[in-house]
């Protein structure tokens, strides 16, 4: 069973155990659990970000983007001048996977893509949203 499957199962069990509560009521424990789930995916993203295994040439995202700096998730979607259209962040991540990392692009809903975006966005926490900014 993969980490993701385990995570999913843990979530289902968690929902089952609190199934009796009303939909619009949740507890501090719920909030903590959701935060833990999020941070686990952020951690997964950090692993991928620093891993030579995402591409084929040993290059890692973090080599050019320490702490995911200069990725600017708060500015997406935006007009990416090199692609000639407005794109979401995941398309730019795929550009990096294909070019500097000489690897394969990920599907938009691939858990790895979710994790990469969770990590990148987490490193920008506190920065105000500025979609379209250059």
């Amino acid at each position: 069973m993969s980490t993701y499957q385990k995570t999913a199962m843990a979530l289902c069990l968690a929902f089952a155990s609190t199934g009796s509560s009303l939909a619009d009521e949740f507890t501090e424990a719920d909030v903590q659990r959701w935060q833990q789930q999020f941070m686990a995916v952020v951690g997964e993203g950090r692993e991928l970000w620093t891993s030579p295994k995402l591409g084929t040439n040993g290059v890692a995202c973090a080599q050019c983007h320490p702490n995911a700096a200069n990725t600017h998730p708060e500015t997406y979607p935006k007009f990416q001048k090199q692609l000639g259209k407005v794109v979401p962040l995941w398309q730019m991540i795929n550009w990096c996977l294909k070019n500097p990392l000489e690897g394969q692009p990920l599907a938009a809903d691939d858990p790895k893509m979710t994790a990469l975006q969770a990590y990148v966005t987490y490193e920008r926490r506190g920065v105000k949203l500025e979609p379209g900014k250059h």
Partner: protein, 358 residues
Amino acid sequence: MSTINNSRRNFIKTAGTLAIGTTLPISLVELAFAESSQNFTFAYISDAHIQHIKDNRFVRNWDRGLIRAVAETNLLTPKPDFVMFGGDLAQLGSKPELDHGAEILSALHGNVHYVMGEHDYYLDLGEYWGKLFGPQYYSFDHKGVHFVVLNSIKTYDDWTFKRWPTAEQRMLEMADLDNPNGSPFMVGEEQRVWLKDDLDKIDKDTPVVVFSHSPLQKIYKGWNFWTEDADQVQALLQPFSKVSVIYGHVHQIQYNQIGNISFNSVMATAWPWPYPQAYAQAEQYLPKLTVPMNRADPFFDRDATGWQFINMANGNLDLNYTLYNNTSRIVRYNTDKKRPEDVAYQDEKARIVPQTHY
């Protein structure tokens, strides 16, 4: 000065004529004295990060940066007296990487002096690098200038010798720039004692140029844009009337003035790094003086790498950065204000949008 300016123009013209592109990822350092017959130049190549994939395969992108720098250095007119390599020849310090890097550098005409980088060091603590390139710290004199090379990327013995189960893991831990398991760089007591002794023999009016891999000033500890004992090294340099420190590691233009010491960084041939202010969670101290480079275009492999002429007029450094795909930059020592300043962009109002890093 006019002689120097002419030679710069001639160089650029020569390069253009040979159709090798508009920019070079190397630095041409020109030392100018009152007697123009004493002027000389040297070139500076740094941070190649040659990265072995497997068998005969290396990361092409980084290879190309170094190959281009070497080829273009050989075309310099006037011919530089020597070439500096500023450290991080390898990515993970392996023999294949150092050998492949040395093979590429072997095409250089003339003498090369080498600086140790952390990517060269932390696999075998510089043993194989030493066999190829010689001592890790040393000094030499050239036409009236005293040059010092330091290994500034050492760290606490505990981290180096006791913390990691294998040399490979130690190398990987130090290779990741943003790794919280890393450790701050330092010159260390042995070299500081040596440096004091070395400098004691030098007249205080002799221009001194120090080469280190890490900045001998404290900018951002999280990415080791930092040398732990920088203050102590600076104290040894301050008695000299004209001191310049040139460092690599940061993969970007930085400059600063602390007392008598001018600081200038050189760019990488491999890839550019963000300025520390681009990391929202960081506390950092980029010198206020530094006008940043334009934000890099990732779609252009060699963008935000470049080359510099460095002119040491009256013992102070002027840097002329020629950037890929960007307008060239000139950072010149201002003798009135006694600090390096960008000739075009120093004033807040003169800055352009791509120089804003966030």
